[in-house]
């Protein structure tokens, strides 16, 4: 049996167009874009094409797009450089949320060690933060607000446009980690009042090891890597031309099929969520309305997520979990705790993230397979035994 891959929020398979772009440009365009000869110019032209394609999707100018090695690098750069700029102006306060990716949270922790103050805004039970919360947290000391576009675990889409508007009114920079959003839902940096935006190629069927940071003109942040004129001097190093081009092609392709794909994925995920909710003591995490179309996140009381994942894997289904055992620590997912779930329930979480290659047949198989596996684990769970005893009292 073919494996059913439903971990597209972790990474995606290359689209045909992206694969073709990477292979073709790897074979045919090997020059250094900085060279002063025709072979080098060819590579430079490929980069220009890629930057134009990305800029068109983001609705920005090509010279506002800076290619990086991925989303984590872009996040680190945006936060650290903004903090340094703020410090020089006497501003040392940053604002973010409790449900960000660790590329943001760990960078914020590091900035705190360096003397910056960080406000971590709490979210509601669906994972939403409001523009009002942001507005109330901004002080005269605030340099930057960073709120993720969409959450990687529970799929909640934040009110980015409204938060951006508040930031601009208060003259504070606004960064968003759009790693899960770009290529999946509409992103427009002008309409949505975004000053900086991080994204990663491999989340929308592009290659790994390549991403981008959008930096609006007028946002004066420092260089990330010294040593060359690449990326307008801000990030030195010979460019990964085939990777960058592959990402741009993947992005363009994703945006072209977005409306159709979103309708299809919303329907498929809705089907999975509705079927999970027919099982007793289960819940769907996140928002049913402000949600990434391909995200399913559920908790099954009485069982532990890693066991669930491994039995699903044995049945040919690849997903992920926010249990402690999969997070590499003793605590379950910070996102599930932030939306108010108790530890014991958060341990039993399952994330299925669907993408363009998933089919209705696969969804039907998943729906058919989950109940038996859940029952098998509950049958051997002393926690489930307690839940049942409590219920039958």
């Amino acid at each position: 049996m073919n494996k059913i891959y439903m971990d597209n929020a972790a990474t995606t398979a290359l689209s045909e167009k992206a694969l073709d772009a990477v292979i073709t440009k790897t074979k045919e365009v090997y020059g250094n874009p900085s060279s002063m000869h025709t072979i080098g110019h060819e590579s430079a032209h490929v980069l220009v094409d890629a930057r134009n394609m990305v800029a068109e999707v983001l609705n920005c100018s090509p010279d506002e797009v800076y290619f990086t090695s991925g989303g984590s690098e872009a996040d680190n750069w945006a936060l650290k450089a903004a903090a340094a700029y703020g410090k020089a102006k006497g501003k040392t306060h940053l604002i973010t949320t409790t449900i960000e990716h660790h590329a943001i949270l760990h960078t914020m922790k590091e900035l705190e060690k360096q003397g910056f103050t960080v406000t971590y805004l709490p979210v509601d039970s669906e994972g939403l933060v409001t523009a009002k919360q942001v507005e109330e947290a901004i002080t005269d000391e605030t340099i930057l607000v960073s709120v993720m576009f969409a959450n990687n675990e529970i799929g909640t889409v934040e009110p980015i446009k409204e938060i951006g508007a508040v930031c601009h009114e208060k003259k504070v920079w606004f960064h968003t980690d759009a790693v899960q959003a770009l290529g999946h839902i509409k992103v427009d940096v002008q309409e949505m009042n975004i000053d900086m935006l991080s994204a990663s190629g491999h989340k929308f069927n592009g290659p790994k090891g390549v991403g981008l940071l959008y930096i609006k003109k007028g946002i004066r942040i420092g260089n990330l890597i010294e040593g060359g004129a690449q990326e307008r001097g801000k990030r030195a190093g010979t460019e990964n031309v085939p990777g960058i081009y592959g990402m741009a092609v993947a992005l363009k392709d994703s945006v072209e099929i977005m409306d159709e794909e979103n309708a299809r994925l919303t329907k498929l995920c809705g089907k999975i969520m509705d079927s999970i909710l027919t099982l007793p003591h289960t819940r769907i995490n996140g928002s049913r309305t402000n949600r990434l179309p391909g995200n399913v996140n559920a908790c099954f009381e009485g069982i532990e997520g890693e066991s669930l994942l491994m039995l699903l894997d044995a049945a040919g289904i690849c997903g992920s979990s926010g249990s402690a055992c999969t997070s590499g620590s003793l605590d379950p997912s910070h996102v599930l705790l932030a939306i108010g779930l108790p530890h014991e329930i958060a341990h039993g979480s399952l994330r299925l993230s669907l993408g363009r290659f998933n089919t209705e047949e696969e969804v039907d198989y998943v729906i058919k397979t989950i109940p038996g596996i859940v029952e098998r684990l509950r049958d051997m769970s002393p926690v489930w035994e307690d839940i049942m005893e409590e219920e039958n009292k």
């Binding site: 069982i303 532990e304 039995l311 402690a324 055992c325 014991e344 051997m380 002393p382």
Partner: protein, 123 residues
């Protein structure tokens, strides 16, 4: 992270799973908050643990260590069972990833708790 074939075998086909209504000793350790909890039931005759069952809420290595630990002490005397160490359980499974070693402690502790319960019932 990958598990050994033995861990996978004991996870996929756990031995001695179940409950006992007439156990001579029951031990429960762990905490659902931490993500793993194990309950062990033993039957004892002439100082020998002749039957044992377990229920576990936890990750694959928690279930596999529960299974292996019950297999290791089934048919052993109380004194022999008390000598079981988490290291021996992990070794019998061809090793556990370092971050999972704490799971093997759970099995050792659950068996000790069941024996304590048995002893206290004996008076």
């Amino acid at each position: 992270m990958e598990y050994s074939d033995k861990v996978m075998d004991h996870f996929m086909n756990p031995r001695n799973v179940g409950k006992m209504d007439d156990a001579d000793g029951v031990g429960e350790v762990g905490n659902p908050k931490c993500g793993d909890i194990m309950k062990v039931y033993i039957k004892v005759k002439d100082n020998v643990i002749y039957d044992i069952k377990f229920n576990t809420f936890g990750c694959a290595s928690a279930i596999a260590t529960s299974s292996m630990a019950t297999e290791l002490i089934k048919g052993k005397t109380i004194e022999e069972a008390l000598e079981l160490t988490n290291k021996a359980v992990a070794e019998a499974l061809d090793g556990l990833p370092p971050v999972k070693m704490h799971c093997s402690v759970l099995a050792e502790e659950a068996i000790k708790a069941a024996i304590d319960d048995y002893k206290s019932k004996q008076g």
